[in-house]
């Protein structure tokens, strides 16, 4: 029995390992969605961009005698630049002329552009990332907890609190909320809507770079398509938590990770082998569907009614 409990707790921590990465990615999704009501499909690919920057800069950073994780600084700079360019060059013009659907198609197109662009530049091959940092694992009795998981969860919580404080207490943060509530009214109040949106994109993309650092510590490999599935799962996490809600994204990511892990670990036994762990992805998307149908505002989002 004791073994079973330890096993169960280990499985939860296995889930938190990937879940904490989902959380970091979902925070970026939720920031952007909160302000312009756009599913930024390219967000997962910002992670990929960040990971490639890490791969390229780590040797240089180490050569300078600095710790490898400092390569997150150039990664943040590049990701912010990419995010702002994507917003200025594509999303903004489309937002001004088109409707929801054209905006979404643009987001998909930007995602394809980043994926295929990096494939043209770096090739389709998988490339490994050198060890960034060795975080020792913690042993409590028989229970072994991966150090990187703890750091990622803590980092996620810190970022979540920082974002929450930023949004509720600073001038720019208040401007963001105002734009999100009512764009026209915000303009009347003298808020520069465009620069507020750009700032949001910059923050979201910067978060993507941090997420790619934590991702690469646990999963040290990059490829042009790595952001696609990661982005989708993180999006599911954001919806589950209540898209637009900052704590919701954090909770959603962790829940999705744990659900995935427990599915892989127990569903075969529970269903007598009818549904195997191979269904983990289907179950994650099943959760998305159920949330959307039953409570589209998610666990922590505010319900929204259709405006005429």
């Amino acid at each position: 029995m004791g073994n079973q409990i330890i096993m169960f707790i280990s499985q939860i921590f296995n889930g938190l390992k990937i879940g904490s990465v989902y959380s970091l990615v979902a925070l970026g999704y939720t920031m952007v969605y909160g302000i312009i009501r756009l599913i930024n499909f390219a967000h997962g690919d910002f992670i990929m961009v960040g990971a490639y920057v890490l791969m390229l800069t780590i040797p240089a950073i180490i050569a300078c005698g600095l710790p490898a994780w400092l390569s997150v600084v150039p990664a943040i700079l590049v990701c912010v630049a990419v995010g702002v360019i994507v917003e200025k060059a594509a999303y903004k013009p489309v937002r001004e002329k088109g409707n929801n659907m054209t905006a979404l198609i643009t987001a998909i197109a930007m995602s394809l552009l980043l994926e295929n662009g990096s494939q043209a530049v770096f090739g389709a091959d998988y490339q490994t990332i050198p060890t960034i940092i060795q975080i020792p694992s913690i042993a409590i009795g028989d229970l072994k907890i991966d150090g990187a998981t703890i750091v990622t969860v803590l980092l996620g919580i810190i970022i979540m609190i920082a974002l929450q404080l930023f949004v509720s207490h600073t001038k720019q943060g208040k401007a963001m909320r105002a734009v999100s509530e009512d764009k026209e009214a915000a303009i009347l109040m003298g808020i520069n809507v465009n620069s507020t949106i750009t700032l949001t994109f910059a923050i979201g993309s910067g978060l993507a770079a941090v997420a790619s650092l934590m991702y690469c510590i646990s999963y040290p490999q990059v490829s042009p398509m790595m952001g696609a599935m990661l982005g989708l799962k993180a999006f599911v996490a954001a919806v589950l938590g209540g898209i637009g809600s900052i704590p919701g994204a954090m909770v959603g990511g962790l829940v999705i990770g744990v659900v995935e892990s427990l599915t892989k670990a127990y569903i075969g036994t529970i269903t007598g082998g009818v549904i195997t762990s191979a269904f983990a992805d289907a179950i994650v998307f099943g959760i998305l569907i159920i949330v959307l149908l039953v409570k589209p505002s998610g666990l922590m989002g505010e319900p929204e009614s259709e405006k005429v």
Partner: protein
Amino acid sequence: MKKSMLSIKQSYIVCAIGVVVLFGVLMGVCETGAVSLYVKGIIMTCCIAVIMTTSLNLTIGVLGQLTLGCCGFEAIGAYSAALFSKLLVANGVVMNDTVRFLLVTVAGGLVACIFGVLIGIPALRLHGDYLAIITLGFGEIIRVIIQNLKVAGGEGLDKGQQGQALIGIDRLANLYVVFWITVVTVVLLFMFARSRYGRAVKAIRDDEIAASASGINITYMKVLVFAISAFFAGIAGGIFAQYIGALTPSMAGWLQSINYVIMVVFGGMGSLTGSIVSAIGLTILPELLRAFSDYRMLVYSVVLVLIMIFRPQGIFGNWEFSLPKAINRIFYPKGKKGKNGDAGKAEATGVEETKEAKHE
């Protein structure tokens, strides 16, 4: 004025002749051996793409709802048709190849249609971004289920194992038959889009709340459109299965669906002509530019963004090519253009489709 125009009946005849001429050309080049197997394969691929794109356009362009799961339905149709075909053979049912081809293809379409209704009823309660995402989710679930179904790998059939590609499907697709299926599909979709139902659907696209206030049953209409789209996607899948002869679950993936969304958007949301042209164009172009294939998707994505910025309605917008209209323009040049029928808004007909002018 009337004299200068083709009557509605004449328009039908002109279109029918147009289609037959097109078919005659196709038959001519095939029978004389002027085209190789390779070219025939490309024409077949074009037909499948046309069916997929025009039917998807019904949902995206006419209903105005973005779905990212069309290949899920295509896969359902393909697997159903393939398994049904194998089942018929296994049970010793002997029939003409063409009859069997049509039978199993339609069966594939019907199964896809049933799933379209089942998925459409819950999914279509949402719209916009959420609908796109939920259809994507359903598509992925379909893919995972196919992956894990024993029979979809051929286990328990003549040969095969769960998780493997389904192979040994009789390759019964005949180019002539597929050509006519494509024609019929386009004609039916065109007729639907121009019918009373179609106008109701467009009303929903333009203003859902106003449409609802005018007494249109929104849920019913949406599910109907979704089911029709799914049906034809299933038909396309059935043809695909019986042309390629081997199926893998990855065909249900959302990246495949996005390919067709790209075709619809390029051609113009709401324009069947645009869908046909872009489906054929985007199928042939990569073949012509084989050396360039590494950068194909890169170029597509850039063009897609540019279209969204500069021409969000797509290349053809909602314009339809019309053979009788073109004939009118040639034989009765400018200034004599009259209005057809009594509704005044009628655009005559599409490239290979007949349709009625807008009058009750």
